[in-house]
């Protein structure tokens, strides 16, 4: 079965959840609040905006959407978050786009959504891979043949995977005092953002938890956002099995903000995955900063932090904000003496997973992120903080400012680095 199989893709958009999302259409009062927040339509007339392609065009949709500017939606999810009436605008638009692309899914979109594959292929030859991706003539060929923009941010391959580190490191000397957690590292956290995973695990162990890291694969988010619902569904259910194997009823922690969002709600609400394994994982998973803030609210987070004198820009990614828990990292950072975290106040960095990689969308993604890049450079030219991987790569590439997960400062403030 291939994604070119249009019958299959259409079937896939007839599931119950599609009907549930469409039922929310009647709540739309055409107030335009989503339009005021959309980061894409703000910078280009090529996208007519979430209300126009969503609640408006959706009424005329029978199979394919009548508004093809839908392809320019980045699926950042901001419209759903800000809707005062509870309309699932982003979900509707993601579903409509999957139908629209079903007959002619670009090879490029299939390739860039295979995140684990990229990591596995690049790690053993990291220096070569990094050099190759930094080599302009090669990137121009890739742009021409595949459609990935020559200047788009690419992850840096590491010589050691997280699994490699876990195998080689010394076992924690302190016996756990708070029970066990399962850690979900995501593809990026396993291959590219290994340091984020290491620091997250070390902070959790410092707090007294035993951290179980089961063998795990991709959540399928990039496939979902590219409309490859079949493959993404198979991926996420495989991942759920793997995470469940880590321990029954244990809290699952992740520092991959967008993959966490995929597990918490997107797989269910966008792709209609209705499976008890997903329901089990989605109710147990917590973003690491969310988890630390919950501990603090319960009076269980040690705050014997070292002073770190730093003013640092913090950008909350769209897919983290979409989880409806505010910006927990901001609250945790406030607990560290000396840290002055400045919220970016910018809706989106532009990358939206794989959107900003695509040659026809690269300029739009850069324009979306420009106010953020400017803010980051003006606030601290040496360090920025952001919870998700592709957003960090985008900010770092376009602003030139090193960008890390907020757990870095927590790790440092506990004296672990």
């Amino acid at each position: 079965m291939t994604p070119h199989d249009s019958n299959n893709a259409h079937d896939n958009n007839n599931y119950a959840a599609d009907q549930v999302a469409r039922a929310s259409l009647d709540h739309c009062v055409k107030c335009n609040i989503c339009e005021t927040h959309c980061p894409v339509s703000a910078v280009t007339p090529l996208f007519s905006g979430p209300k126009f392609v969503g609640p408006q065009a959706e009424r005329y949709r029978h199979g394919e959407s009548v508004d093809h500017s839908l392809d320019y939606c980045s699926s950042c999810g901001t419209c759903t978050l800000v809707c005062p009436q509870g309309v699932q605008i982003a979900e509707l638009n993601s579903q409509a786009r999957a139908v629209m692309k079903a007959d002619h899914m670009p090879l490029r979109d299939q390739l860039i959504s295979r995140t684990t594959l990229m990591g596995m292929a690049m790690t053993p030859m990291a220096p070569v891979a990094n050099a190759a991706l930094g080599f302009k003539p090669l990137r121009m060929v890739i742009e021409k043949v595949v459609g990935i923009h020559r200047d788009a941010p690419m992850p840096t391959a590491r010589t050691q995977t997280l699994t490699g580190w876990l195998k080689k490191r010394k076992a924690p000397t302190k016996a756990p005092t708070r029970g066990s957690l399962v850690y979900f590292h995501g593809c990026a956290g396993g291959y590219f953002e290994v340091e984020t995973s290491k620091r997250s695990i070390e902070v959790l162990e410092h707090l007294g938890y035993e951290v179980i890291v089961p063998k795990q694969s991709c959540c399928g988010l990039a496939q979902q956002s590219n409309g490859l619902f079949d493959q993404a569904t198979a991926q996420i259910l495989k991942l759920c099995d793997e995470l469940r194997a880590g321990g029954k009823d244990l809290t699952i922690i992740s520092a991959s903000g967008s993959c966490t969002g995929m597990l918490k709600h997107e797989a269910h609400e966008i792709m209609g995955v209705d499976d008890s394994r997903l329901a089990d994982v989605s109710t147990r998973i917590r973003d690491i900063m969310e988890f630390l803030l919950d501990l603090h609210d319960a009076g269980e987070l040690p705050t014997n932090f070292k002073t770190i004198d730093i003013t640092v820009p913090y950008h909350a990614p769209c897919q983290l904000k979409a989880q409806g828990m505010g910006q927990p990292a901001m609250e945790v950072l406030k607990l560290i003496p000396g840290v002055k975290a400045i919220e970016s106040g910018v809706t989106c960095c532009g990358i939206a997973g794989t959107y900003g990689l695509k040659k026809e969308k690269y300029e739009i993604a850069q324009a979306v992120g420009q106010p953020l890049f400017d803010m980051v450079k003006a606030t601290n030219p040496d360090l920025a903080l952001c919870d998700t991987e592709t957003c960090r790569w985008q900010i770092a590439k376009s602003s030139g400012v090193r960008t890390e997960h907020p757990i870095y400062l927590v790790h440092q403030a506990y004296g672990l680095s």
Partner: protein, 430 residues
């Protein structure tokens, strides 16, 4: 430090949350989505019709309240409104508003009617409809919902509320917001006008139309992020400029929402969007927590006090079921004014519809008449007002928000012992 949960991010919710945080409370604001400000005209209406047109709203307040038992202005007098408006102006910043809560301006609308409002964005002040005024109404033909001819001709044929007439003519500009775009919203134009180069070209196009002695009426699209658009355009056009608010997305409303949200965050309010309240816990007549629908699993927000700023029907906080029964959807609170058989009468242009006066009842401190001792209500959920008809929405919102916040802070001070006072002092300084 005492914890307060505010539900709702409209004008009343943002003002109450900010005042509470500045007073030392630890405030979480949960909201389903963005509040109603981007739908508003950005003006502070106190009392426009009682039911006849009002020229001095605060002078008229007591008489209006007496004639309307159950109206929030029976609990919130002129001083409460003065306090609320002054606090709002402080939060928004000194340059944002002009006008005087004591006096209504009479301002043109997008259909060329004349609307009373007291405290208005600085860019609207020169639009006061007074005898002998000479207006040129102009705007881009590529802007949705702005029709200079309709506005100018309606204004010119209207006997002004305070007597006399004004002269108004119109001209349409051919001036897209972005190349090739033929029907942009006001927000797109506002973003373009944030750009000084676009602004220069726009000013030159307007300047070519103006005759000596005219005041220029433009659509309310004078920038989202750049505060200098009004002064810059006025200087470049070489004539006084005012704006006429448009249907949503409303640029002055978006700006006010941005300013008040920033003020709330600066005061330390933790804002949680995408968090519809779906449940709550209570014990012995006190609310303990509210529970929000959140991705993955519901989240619980415990607090010592709760402020409900959910709005009414327009935001789903009130719901009329098919049996003609009105429900308050967040806590299931008892409602005032719902025990009427004909909630909606058939006379469309007639007296206020009873349905829209339904809401929760409160005491003078804005504490809800209901099962919980620690729940306060502010803004559009309060019973007794037909806000859009009276033009009273913002006056009620800011006065009730300040009253409730101060009542909660007083209750905290009364019950807390000395350690909490230290916390409060620190919070106020932050």
């Amino acid at each position: 430090m005492s914890r307060v949960v505010v539900i709702g991010a409209g004008l009343a919710g943002l003002v109450a949350a900010t005042r509470l945080a500045q007073g030392g409370a630890r405030v979480v604001l949960v909201t389903k989505g963005t509040g109603g400000l981007p739908l508003s005209q950005g003006t502070i209406d106190i009392l426009g019709y009682a039911p006849e047109r009002v020229t001095r709203p605060l002078d008229a307040l007591a008489g209006f309240a007496a004639a309307n038992p159950g109206h929030p202005y029976n609990l919130l007098d002129a001083d409460a409104v003065r306090l609320g408006v002054a606090y709002l102006r402080e939060l928004a910043g000194p340059e944002v508003f002009v006008g005087d809560p004591e006096v209504n301006l009479q301002l043109p609308t997008a259909v060329g009617a004349i609307r009373p409002s007291a405290v208005v964005p600085a860019e609207m002040a020169a639009g006061a409809c007074v005898d002998g005024a000479r207006f040129l109404i102009t705007g881009p033909g590529q802007l949705k919902d702005f029709h200079p001819q309709l506005i100018a001709e309606n204004l010119a044929r209207t006997q002004l509320p305070e007597g006399g007439r004004l002269a108004a003519r119109w001209a349409q500009l051919d001036f897209p917001a972005r190349p090739g775009e033929s029907d942009s919203t006001g927000l797109t134009f506002a973003r373009s006008l944030d750009d000084p180069a676009y602004r220069r070209r726009f000013a030159a196009a307007v300047r070519a139309l103006v005759q000596p002695g005219e005041t220029v009426g433009l659509p309310a699209v004078l920038g989202v992020s750049d505060a200098s658009v009004l002064t810059d355009l006025t200087a470049q056009i070489g004539a006084p400029v005012f704006t006429i608010p448009l249907p949503p997305p409303s640029v002055p409303g978006v700006r006010l929402n941005n300013q008040l949200t920033a003020a709330a965050k600066a005061a330390g309010v933790r804002i949680i969007p995408g968090a519809k309240v779906i449940d709550h816990r209570s014990s012995n007549g006190r609310l303990l927590s509210v529970i929000s629908a959140t991705a993955g699993t519901p989240r619980e927000y415990a607090a010592d006090y709760f402020v409900q700023a959910t709005g009414g029907f327009e935001s789903g906080a009130l719901h009329l079921d098919s049996h003609n029964v009105v429900h308050e959807t967040v806590f299931g609170l008892p409602l005032v004014g719902a025990d009427i058989t004909e909630l909606v009468h058939g006379d469309y242009w007639g007296p206020p519809q009873p349905l829209f006066k339904v809401g929760v009842g409160v005491d003078a401190s804005m504490k809800v008449d209901g099962p919980y001792d620690n729940l306060y209500a502010v803004g559009g959920i309060l019973a007794g007002a037909t806000r859009w008809q009276e033009k009273s929405g913002e006056g009620i919102a800011v006065a009730s928000a300040v009253r409730a916040a101060d009542a909660v802070l007083a209750a905290i001070a009364a019950t807390d012992q000395t350690p909490a006072r230290d916390d409060a002092t620190q919070g106020a300084q932050a």
